[in-house]
Amino acid sequence: MADSVEIRGLSRAFDGNTVLHELDLDIREGEFVALLGHSGCGKSTLLRILAGLDEEIGGEVTVPARRSAAFQSPRLLPWLKVWRNVVLGLPGRPNRALAERALAEVGIADRASVWPKTLSGGQAQRVSLARALVREPELLLLDEPFGALDALTRGRVQQLVAELWQRHGCAILLVTHDVEEALLLADRVLVMDEGRIAHELTVDLPRPRDLTAPEFVSLRARLLNWLGVTRTLEGTPS
């Protein structure tokens, strides 16, 4: 399959502080890639560059013109009703029917005409996903979109992202620091360290994935090892 994203020799420095070092990365069309790493390893910087929000870079980056993003906080405009937020920035007059279809897809069609302030965290994050997907992106960038959600809601929204990805077939780059989340969702997991892709892992497990499968557990152990996290849980229930 053709590549959706091609990154060659990408460098980015902030005030002489190099954050990305000659980074190379390809993402295939429709591929789900998760990007793991400690805070400050440059993963969010990479995502911002792919989003086109940061252009002071060295090297070459090729991305689809049609791309959108969802962030850790939903970043909805509080003065626009939910449905207007969904179709914000689309050409032409605000199309309510389109917005309602997108909201129905993420399961909150009934909240179309409320103010964003009245939504719960999970609902707001769903709106943010609807806003990203209504643009029919070829590349969807997700910057820790589940990070601020409680555990129960997070599981549900992760499930939703998996479904939406299979339906839309867009390439996804998910930035996260949650190893299990990466393994549950992605085709390929990258571990970033000091501005480079330090490790790469292809996840060949059947979907939907089982957290307790031995293959899953062993992949998780490898990722944690790469991240420099060693877990010894002797006698402590997790």
Binding site: G52, R75, W79, K117
Partner: protein
């Protein structure tokens, strides 16, 4: 490491358990409504004013009785002096306000939206603000004479500062994360200004508007001391010459009422424009 923790007599002396006694009303007791209690102060003061005037403790040369003030209000309304004075003052306030608001809006947009505008305008505004604007009256008289122009200019000046600083501050406090997200969703420069920057500056702008309107009336009071031949200030300085404290008090009351009316209007406006901030559960 071993530490010798001192004895904690205070905790030891305290009883181990305490009882929390409920203060919730159990009904049956008559309570005075809050609005009545709040009105009691002002009403009491007016009553005191009336009583001291009626008994002669407060002579009319110091302060006219509320009854006289009311009589003057009726009298001056009937012969048309008060309405025409209010109209003249209102015209000045409105003209000055519109000019000041236009200047403030233009400057704050230029300073808020463009780096060059900020560099040129904001430091200058900071400098001019240090000058007490009331102190400019003599200069305004030299420049504009003693007709309407210096009065309107003073109101405009008083209005400009609070509006400018609040709108500019509102624009600059726009959440950069929202700007980023909106850019990502394909909004151009104009779209960003319309959908992100101006709405987020609105709450600040409305606060500025309240300040600006109260300053407008204040500036008017000062301005109308300059050789007025119409308006509330004229009525007041005339009354001063004849020691008519009833007319002076009446004019003060009218100034206060006009200020209150403006404030009320802005509050209604705020409530209508900022519905998105309220936490109601959507429309029915």
């Amino acid at each position: 490491m071993t530490t010798h923790s001192p004895p904690l007599p205070t905790t030891l002396d305290k009883p181990a358990r305490i009882t929390i006694r409920g203060t919730a009303k159990t009904g049956g007791r008559v309570t005075i409504p809050r609005s009545v209690r709040r009105a009691a102060g002002p009403v009491g003061l007016v009553l005191l004013w009336f009583l001291t005037s009626a008994t002669g403790v407060l002579p009319e040369s110091v302060l006219a009785s509320p009854v006289d003030v009311l009589k003057q209000a009726v009298e001056l309304t009937r012969n048309g002096e008060l309405p025409s004075a209010i109209a003249a003052s209102g015209r000045r306030a409105a003209t000055g306000f519109l000019i000041g608001a236009t200047i403030a809006l233009s400057l704050s947009l230029l300073a808020g939206l463009f780096r060059l505008g900020e560099d040129v305008i904001d430091s200058s505004m900071g400098m001019f603000r240090a000058i007490p604007w009331v102190g400019l009256i003599p200069l305004f008289i030299v420049w504009f004479g003693i007709e309407e122009t210096p009065k309107i200019a003073l109101v405009a000046l008083g209005v400009t500062y609070p509006l400018y600083f609040n709108i500019y501050g509102g624009i600059r406090s726009t959440d950069s994360q929202l700007v980023e997200a909106a850019r990502m969703m394909g909004l151009g420069r104009l779209g960003l200004i319309t959908y992100v920057i101006l709405p987020s500056a609105l709450p600040g702008a409305l606060v500025g508007l309240r300040y600006a309107l109260s300053t407008a009336w204040l500036a008017l009071v000062f301005a109308e001391q300059i050789n007025a031949d119409a308006g509330l200030g004229y009525l007041m300085s005339n009354a001063q010459q004849y020691f008519r404290t009833d007319v002076i008090v009446l004019c003060l009351v009218v100034y206060a009422l006009l200020g209150l009316a403006c404030d009320f209007a802005v509050r209604i406006l705020s409530r209508r424009l900022l519905t998105w901030r309220a936490n109601f559960e959507g429309e029915a």
